[in-house]
Amino acid sequence: MTSLLSRLFGRSRKGSGTTAKDRLRFVLQHDRINLPPERMEQMKAEILAVIAKYLVVDQERVEMALEQRDRMHSKLVAEIPVAKEQHGPAKSAAVPAAQNSDSAAENGANDSAKARQKESEHDTEDAKPEVKADHADDVAEEKKEKA
């Protein structure tokens, strides 16, 4: 409908104007909640890592996005499909992860994950998230590829 109208009125929505609008939407979403995109991805990865301790998540179909009605009203909306078959890693991860999350982070993390953890340390000193770093990292990478 809209494309028909735009053609009718000679206004192609494919130009850089549309790109400008999309980019503005994106940047303003983050400006308005004061959470830059990279930190948001980090948060999503941590959330998924926590869930993955209990459930097998269909990583491919995970959707987590910020919805904004306006400047004052933002919400994080997530759809996290759970695989039908719950097997090994989910259950076994649940208990030990809570105990040795610190060492898990040390061992499993590659350099970039460590760097990111460092970056966020000033914010999370009191409540360090208990995330299995290798998990978190996989997810973060996947997310980046999508973007």
Binding site: M1, S16, R71
Partner: protein
């Protein structure tokens, strides 16, 4: 009836605040309103040259708030309009020499005598902006249909709302109709969708704006200027008239209305 304080702000610099203030001042004056425009951009005085009043300045805003000059004798009367005055910014002083409270006190005095007190805010979110915002009854946010200007407008709108001066109204300046038609510029609808504020003016890009500032004669006085006409319309809307938007092939809601029509709404 006490006068109304209208602050013209933007976030990003160079988008047309001073141009808008000067033109809305002259437009409102030509509608028969009593108007005073205040240049709150201390250290970067500009409104005087845009209005062609630079030769008449004796005292400035800081002289007034520091009590060195009487308000009456410090206001500069416009050459063409009997009821249009300017209070110029101090050129060699620091923004900190005026406080938000000073501005409230000053404008409260001006309200007694004028219908409209227009304040040209400096760019940014610092003291000068706070000075301009504090006494405002209404805030106009000038932006260009361009990513950085819209982004900064959003930031300023957030601050205006936080200061309970919102919601504010938008002036979209320097719209290039041909580019919008080709899809190479944000349309006024796009800007509305993103910022969500009422649009009170859409001003086209117009070379005559430059000629006007060269000669110090506001472009609203040039009947051939589309930007001038658009500013006149904004002034009438501010004064409470319901003025339809000029046909720039980019009316706000034009597109949406059509879509509504086709959907049978």
């Amino acid at each position: 009836m006490a006068g109304k304080v209208v602050t013209v702000s933007s976030g990003k610099g160079g988008v047309g605040k001073t141009t808008a203030t000067a033109n809305l001042g002259t437009s409102l004056a030509s509608l028969g309103k009593k108007v005073v425009v205040i240049d709150a951009d201390i250290g970067l005085r500009n409104l005087d040259v845009i209005m062609g009043l630079e030769n008449r300045i004796v005292y400035d805003l800081v002289d007034i708030v520091e009590g060195r000059s009487k308000l009456r004798q410090s206001m500069i009367k416009h050459k063409k309009f009997e009821h249009l005055y300017l209070i110029p910014a101090a050129q060699t002083r620091d923004k900190m020499s005026v406080s938000p409270e000073d501005m409230v006190k000053l404008t409260d005095e001006l309200r007694e005598e004028f219908d409209y007190i227009l304040i040209d805010s400096p760019a940014g979110i610092e003291r000068g902006f706070r000075n301009a915002l504090e006494p405002a009854d209404e805030v106009l946010i000038v932006t260009n249909p361009e990513v950085s200007a819209v982004r900064d407008a959003d930031r300023i709108i957030g601050l205006i709302e936080a200061a309970e001066k919102g919601p504010g109204k938008l002036i979209i300046n320097r719209l290039k109709t041909d580019l919008v038609e080709r899809g190479e510029m944000l349309s006024s609808d796009d800007v509305f969708d993103i910022l969500g504020l009422t649009i009170v003016g859409i001003i086209p890009e117009d070379e005559l704006v430059l000629s006007a500032s060269n000669s110090g004669v506001p472009v609203t006085l040039n009947e051939e200027s589309k930007a001038g006409q658009a500013f006149n319309n904004v002034a009438r809307r501010i004064a409470g008239e319901d003025v339809p938007f000029m046909n720039l092939n980019d009316n706000p809601g034009f597109f949406r209305r059509l879509v509504g029509l086709f959907n049978g709404k």
